[in-house]
Structure formats: structure tokens, C-alpha cells
Amino acid sequence: MKRMNWLGLGFLAPALLVIALFFLAPVIMTGFFAFTNMSTATGITGGDYMLNKSALRALGDAGLPDATLEKLEDAGYAVDEKGLAALAAQIDQETADEFARLHGGESFATRRDVERALKDLRQNRIRKTRDRKAAAELFKRSVLNERFGTEAEFRAALTAGGIAPRDHDQITAQAYTGWVWTTENVELLFTLPSTWRYAANTAIYVAFTLSFNVGFGLFLAISTFYLPAAQAATFRAIWFLPRILPPVLYVLMWKWFTWDTGFLSTVTGWFGMSPKNWMLDSPTHAWTTIVLINGFVGASMGMILFASAIRAIPASMLHASEVDGANRWQQVRYIILPQLRWPILFTTAYQTLSLLTSFEYILLATDGGPGRATEVWALAAYHTALNNYGGNLQYGLGAAFALVLVIIGILASLFYLRLFNFRQLVGKPLIEG
């Protein structure tokens, strides 16, 4: 008995490990990331401490006294290693050496003082006023625009700059460049008008594609059922291809079909119409193409499931209905369709979820265009977090988008658990071990 337990768990262990790491962890992490402000700017590991102009402005808005702000911005001039190195680079090494000899370690209150000191150099006087100004600027020491690796260093710099300790916390928080916890993303989701637009797009996408998938899948299954075996197999094979072909290639075929040099434009050209991109020239066309692209793929799943369900109907029942006088439409309507209720329900439930969350074909076909007309929720999550033209990838906000889908996904999967007859699956092993 005991040994058996270990064998079972041992057999399961590799699967559990991989799934926990790259399946369950991401689910949980999506929840975490959704409540951070992670982005390209903040990075995803820790951050630095740095004040810049806009941070100062924010601090000012937050009520920090002007005097403190000025101190932060202007902490005087110091002749130190760093400044000298910069000087050597900008002017030359000798100048820097001499300046170090005369004034190394000194501090000056204003730039005028530094300029004077530079002007007074004996061997290597800097003659041009403009050069002196620039050189003096190299010794300006300010907390502003300087990067500090740790919080302690930053606070030390603040102290050195004479900032009152009571302001340190506020300034430090503002200066932190890494990510922080926030509920901003969720608030954004509910306030941005584009969010609702994406939700509406998703609803359109799912509703139309799903109807097409199920309807056309039914049509394929039923019509091939009425054909001789060889013809039926041929049509099924053709309609299975969209599913089996790599998406990139499959969408390429559609692109060619609708491109302004492609099939549709060429054919309509024969009738004098000017060529255009049939996929992207209007939102209606874009939606139609998207629904068809997904529908041709999705219909094959319905086709297979429905076809095997139809095959499971006893032949004598179909014979009986024919003898009873049913024409084909009546046979479909009264005998076949009622017995497909369960597979239809299953397909609908399954595809609703996968359509809600899938964006591969849309990404490949229209990439959300034209404009944002076909941007669905999942694609918006992808664009926000992983690929946008602005270049600042907002991981946190994207994760918030994804979190909504993850939650829907979990709820829906739990619902399927009830749809599947669960107890039947858990039938106890017959060898008790």
C-alpha cells in the first residue's frame, strides 16, 4: 500500500514539477505583476535611486518647500576625481593635473568661482569664456541626475547636500526608479475608454467567430455525412488543413488572397475596380476576414466532434426516420441535431474560452488594425506589455489586462469540470496495490 503511493507520486513528479514552475507560477505571478507598475522604465528586478527634473516637479507638487528643491538642484561645485576626469577628457590631461594640484578637494559656492579658478591657471589657462563655462559645469555636484545604487548612498548624498532629514523619506520614495506595488492598473482598466472598446471588440469577435465555428462546423459534419465515403474524406481533409498548417503560413495565404496585388484585387480588377487591400481597407472588411480566418480553423474542430457524434447515432434510427417519411431537412432537424446537443454545448463552451483569450491569428492578420478596430482584449494585453510602438512596455498594466482573462479562464475551467462528468473520471483503480 505504502509503496504504491510512492510509485504513483513518483510517476507524477516530473509533470508536477514542470507544470508548477511554468503553469501555476505564471498564474500566480500574473496576479502579482498586475499590481505593480513594472515597465521598461522600471525594469523588472530592483531599481536605482535618481532624481530628475520631472521628479523634482512632482516633489514640488507634493508640497516640498522651494528652498529644499533648490538645494536638491544645486549643491555647489567640488573639485573631485570625477570632475577632473571629465575635464581631462574635455580639455586635456595637463590642464586637469594642474587644476588638481592647485584646487584638488576644494569646494566652490558658485560657478563664477570655479570659472575664476580655471581662468587663473598658470600654464594651461582656458582662454575662451564659453569653454570655461562648460568646464566649470563639469564640477557641479547635485543630487539631480545622479544614479545611486542603494538607498543608503542616496540618503548620504541628501545629508551631504544639507537636506533636512524629515524630507528624506519623501524624496527617496520619489527617487526610486524600480517598480513598486500599486493598484493604479486596475483603476486604469476601469477608467480608460479604450478598455471598453477592447471589451466590445472581444465580444464582437467571440460572438461572430463562435457562431461561424459552430454553425459551419455543423454544416460540414452533416453535409459530409450525406456524401459517399471517398468524397466525404476529401472534403474533411481539405477543411482540416487550416488547422494543421502553421498559423503564419495560413494567415499568409489570406493576406495574399486579400492583398492589393492579390487574388481578390486581381479578379475585381478584371471588372474595372481599382485594387485595394480587402483585409484592411475598412473595419467591416477587417472583421469579416478575422472571423473567416478563425472560423475556417475553428470549424474543423466542430466538424470532427460533430461528425463522430453523428456516426455514433445508430444507423437503424436514421433508417427508421427515412421509412417514417422524413425528408433530409426533417432528418437533420428532428433526429440528428437533437442528438448533437451535448457536443454542440461542449464545443461552444470550449471555443468561447479559447476565442476570448486567443490573439495569434489577429496579431498575424491585422495586428489590431485598421486603427484599433480589431484590437481585442488579449491582443491589447500583448501590445501593452510585450510589443508597442511607443517602446515603453507596461508589464504591470499588461498583466492587469491578462489577469482579467486568467480569472475568466479559471472560472470557466472550473465550470467545465462540472460539465465533464467528473465522478466518472475518478473511478478508483481496481488494483489496490
Binding site: 433508417h319 417514417d324 417519411g325 425528408n327
Partner: protein, 334 residues
Amino acid sequence: MQLDLIGFTKRFDGTPVVSGMDLSVASGEMIALLGPSGCGKSTTLFAICGIHRIDEGRLMFGERDVSGLPSQRRNVGVVFQNYALYPHMSVFDNIAFPLKVQKADKDQIRRRVGEMAELVHIETLLDRRPAQLSGGQQQRVALARALVRNPDVLLLDEPLANLDAKLRLEMRSEIRRIQQETGLTAILVTHDQVEAMSMCDRIALMNNGRIVQIDGPTRMYRDPMDKFVASFLGNPPISFVTPEDLPCFGAPKACAEIGLRPEHVGPQFGTGLTGEVRFVETQGREDLFDIALPSGRMIRSVQPAGSGLRPGQTVDWGYDAAELLCFDRQEVRL
């Protein structure tokens, strides 16, 4: 309605399964299609109701040639072996279905279904689903559905095969009653000879895709055309011996084999047939004896129970010479 099947041939993938079959069923007659498994009974039935195409030959319902018509327009009622009730419909809807697809009006449907339910005694079951019915009840629903359209012909494909022994007895007489009440021309497919003999006016015995003999049950039992018919009918089956085994019987010259039915062998027919009892099967009312003749051939005999004979004992019995069946080398009856 008279039914005539003329020169019917059916091939599957080129191999003929039924070849050149002629069958004619008189109006109001019930005929049994009887034969061993795979002889083409269902094939014939399906061809009559239009599920299989008729490759060659003609099918006439009265004066009407229906060979080329689809099932829908033949107006036949069929009871399938597994009943083929529509599981998602109530009993009422099942019976109403043939009328519904004809777009009959509601009142008429209700009246007709009511009549049928009464005829087959299922008035109280109309709201149930087929899954909630017993086998016998399903059978009655299937009958009602087959009859509801007033079909020209009623076809039954092994309708009793799925019932237990007691129900089978009951449904046998039910089906016969209903057929006679409605006066329908009916064809019953079965491989059970008792069923065929007890239910039908005539029997068409099939073998290898052909009809071997068509006759009334008694006639066919007593007067078989060949060895196949003789051996197929009768339970316990007939035994075959050679003329040498029955030296006292003046067999015709061409006679190669003689058939002896078990009820025609026994002490009540005198003596002259000696042999050793090999096996005794007790059947309650009767005992069945397997007896080895001196030549080694076995014959069977049925005797009223209580003879006390045991295996190993030797008996000297007689046979009913008037009932012997002689066959020539081609197994044709002399």
C-alpha cells in the same frame, strides 16, 4: 395490399448477397422470412422498405411499381430489431413522428396516436421517454409508430430477438393479433423457426441469398423440398441415416440419405432399430435420447419422461415408416 418482389438481386461491392429472388405476399397475409444468419433476410427487408437500393428486379405494391421510390414515398411501416426509437422524444412524439413529417394537423395527430396507443395497449405511457420503458413496452411503441401512417405493408426485422422468453411468447400473439386486426400485409424476418411457424401464414425459407421453399408451416415441416429445409426446421433437429441403417425399409434406389425426425423414433413404433443409448437429456416433460446405431451414426428420439433408460443400455426400437424423408445425392427430396 399485395406485395410482389420479382427477380430481386442485391450486391455489396459486386458480390451478390441476394440473387434473383421472387416473393409474393397476398393482401392481409403475414409471411415469415426465415433462414440462418447471413442468408440475406435483412437485406431483403431493407430493399423492400427502400433503405437498400434494388440492384435488379422489381418491387410491386399492388399495381404500383415502387422499385425506384425513396423510402419516404413507399408507405411501409417498419419495426427494427433494436426498435430504433428516438431517444430524445417522448413516446407520443415517437409515434407522432411519421405524421408530423407529413405535416398532418395537430388534432389528427392526437387522434391517430390515441388510436394506436389503444391498439398496442400503451395509453398510459405516452409521456415517457423510451429509456423509461421496458423491452416489451418499447416493442409496442415501435409497432405503434410503424402502424400510425396506415402503411401498405408492415415489415418486422427480428422484432422479438431482444425480449426475454416470457415476453417473447406474449408479444408473439400480440403482434399476430394486431396484424390481423389491421388486416395488414406483413413480412416478419426471423431466424427462430418457432416464431415463424407460430406467427405466420406462410414461411419463406432462405439460404445463401435464395428462397428455398415457401409453404405453410405444417406443410414445410412435413414435406420439405430438400435436406436443408428438413434439417433447418424441427427442434430437436432431424437425424440423417443411410438406407443401410434401415434394412427393413424399402428405400428407393436413388435414395442416398434418409431423414428421421426424433418424434418418429421410439418403442411405440415396434422394433427393428437397435442401438446403444449414449446420452439422455432431461427436458422435464420429455426426455431426449442420443442413440448410436451399429454403423456408428447417431439418431435422436423424443420420449415422454420417465422411461428410466440410462446411457450404455441397448435398446431395440422402431420408426414410423410413413414419415421417413428420402433424399438423393443432390440432397433433393425424392
